[in-house]
């Protein structure tokens, strides 16, 4: 049988050559013949030869492995600084050869070409262009071994490699943004794929990232210790706390009024409804400074409504927490209203009808059918409103410059000490808002009762 003869001849030949060369080179003084690892490698080849002969290892990858081990035993052992390095190199090389052979056997030629090409380019980048990058070479080779079998994975891999070699010191930023773009591109549904929209998408995302770049760089570039130091400072904490508390109060007030209103608007039809909806957008259109002044004009202590309220309840709006909330409510209102309106409109009226024939009063139908079904959208809208309220600067500045909320604290600090010293504070605030935002999102995702919609039964 030709196959079984190959299985005898090839391993035997390699083994013999390995042993003979080992002896010869040992005598010639090229390597130390009795070093442990060299002997181990010789032994390993013996084992593999046996496996091949018995048929428990396939011939191509077995042969390659034998050749590799022999090569390492004879040459690498001498070149590497010590046997550990040599061993690690050997492990990685075996992995690479194994993957290479498998790709050659199981996948297309194109895959193999990509794999081999990647190997060579990695070799070129790390060993010829960077200093002392052998260690990295090993690391990245492993990455290549894991990703080479799939073009998508390979693209991600190269995004990482290029970010960390060519795009230093912005490696993380580049990785992050390229991953975003790649993920978006790869997850486009095949059926909708067309060149025009893909190009538009890439262009649009490039602009978006360009816009976001300052934020990303600022956040990634800041030393965490400064941020921690910032967080420990009393005034910063106060500002953050105040921001969180006022934004939360505003959101709660908004939710209490605007969510029912949105429901009503989605269910009723009346004259002037479209006018009302247009008016609700006013806070977006009006410049925030103008809004601030307007609020002051009406609710300021000496002004008439503010005066009345102050006289009656002793509540003043300018320069107080109430004023901050008022300004925040003003600017955040359209977000929660429009968001929950859309959410309620997506709930079929028929479901409430069904609820009512089952015995629910109209309030109960709202509570047990419309609200749970719209909850996802409502909560998303509330989160948006919260973020808007927390980030509000213009209106708050006019109504209540003191006590300081976070955005105003940034402004004041910038005015007094300049850009460089303000950066940690800004980073802190960014991180804080981001953390709050994420936490809220995650909370919504995790809370099962809120989002149990179109229930994924199992």
């Amino acid at each position: 049988m030709p196959r079984s003869s190959a299985r005898t001849v090839i391993p035997l030949f390699i083994l013999a050559a390995h042993a003979a060369l080992h002896a010869m080179l040992g005598i010639g003084g090229w390597l130390r013949p009795f070093e442990l690892l060299s002997l181990l490698l010789l032994g390993a080849n013996l084992v593999i030869a046996l496996c091949l002969w018995k048929g428990s290892w396939d011939l191509p990858s077995g042969t390659c492995t034998m050749l590799l081990i022999a090569g390492h035993g004879l040459i690498g052992q001498r070149l590497a600084p010590d046997s550990l390095t040599s061993g690690a190199m050997l492990t990685v090389n075996i992995l690479i050869v194994y993957v290479g052979v498998k790709i050659y056997e199981h996948l297309s030629r194109l895959h193999f070409a990509a794999f081999a090409g990647s190997y060579l380019i990695l070799f070129y980048i790390f060993l010829t262009r960077m200093q002392n990058a052998e260690a990295l070479f090993l690391l990245f080779l492993m990455g290549l071994a894991a990703t080479a079998r799939d073009f998508k994975l390979l693209t991600y891999f190269w995004a990482i490699v290029l970010s960390f070699t060519a795009c230093q010191p912005y490696a993380w930023e580049t990785t992050f943004s390229s991953f975003l773009i790649l993920t978006a591109l790869f997850s486009i549904r095949d059926s909708n794929w067309n060149p025009a929209s893909v190009i538009f998408l890439v262009g649009g995302m490039a602009l978006l990232l360009f816009v976001l770049l300052p934020v990303i760089v600022l956040m990634a570039g800041e030393d965490p210790r400064n941020v921690v130091a910032m967080l420990k400072s009393e005034s910063v904490r106060d500002a953050l706390r105040l921001t969180a508390v006022t934004a939360t109060i505003s959101t709660v007030i908004l939710a209490a009024f605007c969510v029912p209103l949105a429901y009503a608007l989605s269910r009723l039809d009346f004259k002037g409804k479209s006018l009302l909806l247009a008016l609700a957008d006013l806070p977006i259109i009006v410049p925030q400074s103008a809004a601030g002044l307007a609020i002051l004009k009406v609710f300021g202590k000496q002004q008439y409504l503010g005066g009345i309220i102050f006289d009656a309840f002793g509540i003043r709006f300018d320069g107080s927490v109430f004023g901050i909330c008022l300004a925040q409510i003003f600017v955040a209102m359209p977000f929660i209203l429009k968001g929950s309106l859309a959410a309620f409109e997506s709930v079929p009226v028929a479901l409430e009808g069904a609820a009512r024939t089952l015995g629910a009063s109209s309030f109960s139908a709202f509570k047990r059918v419309a609200l749970p079904l719209a909850m996802k959208g409502v909560v998303a809208a509330a989160i948006l409103a919260w973020a808007r309220a927390a980030g509000e600067f213009g209106a708050v500045l006019f109504v209540a410059p003191y006590p300081e909320t976070a955005p105003i604290a940034v402004y004041n600090l910038f005015n007094s000490v300049g850009l460089v010293q303000t950066a940690p504070l800004v980073t802190t605030i960014l991180l804080f808002s981001l953390a709050m935002f994420l936490a809220l999102q995650i909370l919504v995702k995790l809370a099962p009762g809120l989002t149990r919609r179109e229930g994924s039964g199992a």
Partner: protein, 352 residues
């Protein structure tokens, strides 16, 4: 005995579309089919009865009590919408439990009732699934169970067989019969498919353009449609203008015996197509015509004959197919009670 459900002169308007005045009465435990073409106001009428639409005139009395002023939740009327309208955020069990929440039953009774209905409507295995994962038939069954678990005395069904495949329909029909038999619920079943209605209901009402045009025993309505629309809607393809003298109808040259004397002089005749038969040569016949079109309609043959002024459509048994050749002449015959005289259009009254 007063009727269980009495709908008298109900009117409602939806924008420019008007429903009514509508008058329907049903006995307790009766199964009434409400038939009508798409857009005739059937569903709107159901909504009026259930209280989801406000009526502008008339009265609705259920078991002797006026309910037209009550909000839907206090009417005690069950409604099963065409799409089922299950609550997507609740699983099957919770859907059923939704209504029980408002009944002042104690926990154990509630549980027992729930379990009973889960089993009765064969949805126990689905109890923990969500509506998104149910098939059409399952959705309908759950919707039905959800309405029935409250044990309403009146159940309104809106196209219960809509969007179901054949097996689904059979299963549904069986469930409905069970409701009829065991629970004694009064049912109004809205549909546009007459076969569906006849498989279940003994009485039916025909609705067109917001009004009830005829209401009566199924066989009656079928055999003696009150107007041209009803005749055609019930599948009678042969409706011709005619004048009547004594017991004969005349359309053009042709004359048919009617078997009774209609109370009007001119109007229409309707001849049921499935009652028309091809007479053998030499047998007595009523009319002869040339076969101009032949179509296999599944369980019968649709044949159009050109009989001079009239174009008759007949539904013939399939076995006749080899004998029917296009453009040949055939003798046609039918019994006198296949012919029905219809009053002229625009003439109100004479509803049963």
């Amino acid at each position: 005995m007063t009727p269980h459900l009495h709908i008298g002169g109900v009117e409602a308007s939806f924008g420019s579309f008007k429903v009514g005045p509508v008058r329907i009465e049903t006995e307790r435990g009766e199964y009434l089919a409400l038939l009508g073409p798409t857009g005739c106001g059937k569903t709107s009428l159901l909504k009026c009865i259930a209280g989801l639409k406000i009526i502008t005139a008339g009265s609705i009395r259920l078991a002797g009590q006026e309910i037209s002023g009550l909000p839907p939740e206090r009417r005690g009327v069950g409604l099963v919408a065409q799409t089922g309208d299950l609550f997507p955020h609740r699983n099957v069990r919770e859907n059923l439990d939704f209504g029980l929440h408002y009944t002042r039953l104690n926990r154990t009774t509630r549980q027992a009732r729930l379990e009973k209905h889960l089993v009765m409507f064969r949805i126990a295995p689905l109890a923990h699934r969500y509506p998104a994962g149910l098939s059409g038939g399952e959705t309908k069954r759950v919707a039905l169970a959800r309405a029935m678990v409250l044990e309403p005395s009146l159940l309104l069904l809106d196209e219960p067989f809509g969007m179901l495949d054949h097996n689904g329909r059979l299963e549904m029909a069986e469930l409905l019969r069970m409701i009829l038999r065991e629970l004694g619920t009064t049912v109004i079943h809205v549909t546009h498919d007459r076969h569906e209605a006849w498989s279940l209901a003994r009485r039916c009402a025909i609705m067109n353009q917001g009004r009830i045009v005829q209401c009566g025993q199924v066989a009656d309505v079928f055999r003696r449609p009150a107007d041209v629309f009803t005749a055609q809607f019930l599948g009678c393809e042969n409706v011709f203008e005619a004048s009547f003298t004594e017991q004969t109808a005349r359309c053009g040259e042709a004359r048919f015996a009617l078997g009774y004397k209609p109370p009007f002089r001119s109007g229409f005749v309707a001849i049921r197509p499935e009652r028309i038969a091809v007479a053998a040569h030499g047998q007595p016949h009523l009319i002869s015509g040339r076969l101009i079109e032949l179509q296999d309609a599944g369980d019968n043959l649709k044949a159009c004959f050109d009989c001079g002024a009239l174009k008759l459509t007949a539904r013939l048994p399939l076995e006749l197919a080899p004998r029917l050749t296009l453009n040949a002449c055939f003798n046609l015959t039918w019994l006198a009670d296949a012919v029905h005289a219809i009053k002229p259009q625009g003439d109100e009254g004479a509803n049963s």
